[in-house]
Symmetry: C2
Subunit: 225 residues, 2 copies
């Protein structure tokens, strides 16, 4: 009888551990994070996460077996997405816990940003004040699908990849404040470096849409066209 209870408990904790195993690997966490920004194909994921294709496919299989993501095949492409919104929340709870409990996270971020000085970030309230004064252009440098899913009110969408080509669309007489996904997204950082090198007055928003939204600040969604 006691051993039946033990078997039951072991079986239950083994199930819980399936989720743990799924998120026990840095690459899989990065894939989850990317999928949290929106659906993507295997190739796109591999490229964005800097992984081999076979490897990516295998990690996605692991995530699929833990039911954290779902795959849908159209033509020769397979599109992966988070299995549901709860998975996104779960990922953010790992992130929050890591930030709270692992001093290394803050350390690593601090050192990384320090090495790229001259990029003083602008805080949320600071940004709002600047927007009220009207002397600022808010720039969203994420891929445009992500912009469409939700962006800061009044932001201009110029994906980082197109930025160099589209510099003429940006004002030279106003401050530009670039932002991207979240605290660990480096797109805005690269954008600001590029803009500054081209003589623009550019800053980066301290945190991205994720944090913005999480704190209850307003987010605009593009109308379906």
């Amino acid at each position: 009888m006691a051993s039946r209870n033990r078997r039951f408990k072991t079986a239950i904790y083994e199930q819980f551990a399936r989720l743990g195993k799924a998120i026990s690997n840095p690459s899989r966490l990065e894939l989850l994070d990317l999928l949290g920004q929106g659906p993507r194909t295997v190739e796109a994921l591999a490229q964005e996460a800097g992984l081999g294709l076979a490897n990516t496919s295998q990690h996605l299989k692991a995530l699929r077996e833990a039911r954290l993501v779902e795959a849908e095949k159209n033509g020769q492409y397979v599109t992966y997405r988070l299995a549901d919104e709860q998975v996104g929340r779960f990922f953010r709870s790992i992130q929050t816990l890591a930030e709270a409990r692992l001093a290394e996270v803050g350390e690593i971020t601090r050192r990384f940003l320090e090495a790229r000085q001259g990029l003083q970030p602008v805080g949320r309230e600071q940004l709002l004040a600047k927007v009220r004064d009207g002397a600022v252009t808010v720039l969203d440098v994420r891929p445009s699908e992500e912009f469409r899913t939700g962006h800061l009110p009044g932001a201009l969408s110029v994906p980082l990849k197109e930025l160099e080509r589209r510099l003429s669309e940006l004002p030279r007489d106003r401050e530009i404040i670039a932002y991207c996904r979240g605290r660990y997204c480096v797109l805005a950082l690269e954008a600001v470096e590029l803009l500054q090198a081209q003589g623009f007055t550019a800053f980066r928003l301290e945190d991205g849409v994720q944090d913005w939204q999480a704190r209850g600040y307003p987010v605009m969604v593009e109308e379906r066209s």
Copy 2:
């Protein structure tokens, strides 16, 4: 520059993965769950989780290194506890996600309970109705420290280990409804089996204090004496 960004991301996701690795093992999850009920020594944990001592110590070390638990030495005993309340919430979020996404969890539970039929559980509202009618004794069969930390209002504390000795304290003319920690805790199950074998009218509450509390039902805390 791009490779510096990659190194940064990798470093960050590696940190997140420390938490994932910590919860990627069934035994460690069980230890976390137990610690969520209150602090315990290594030996108590080993015994309750059915693990070897060396093994338990090593798992605890892993949890400590992920900063999920903390150890405090008094005399020759080392007492482990959750590092903070956020860790408890994190554990519960894994549990919730597993219940939502992994059909196997429900399956395993269902089969386990089915094998022990005749133990029709009582629901929360059902219990409240019975309590209002006054014809029921609510029995908390967890260890008494856990009872002290928080229990259902009006419940009687008789830890499972003492139950056989203390049968005389229980009414033979009223229903007894036993409960324990949560959905996967088997103490109440064992208590009900013992009580029924001894001729009592006993049922088990469908879920434990954890769920009770999570749904906003009232919990009493014992006064310090």
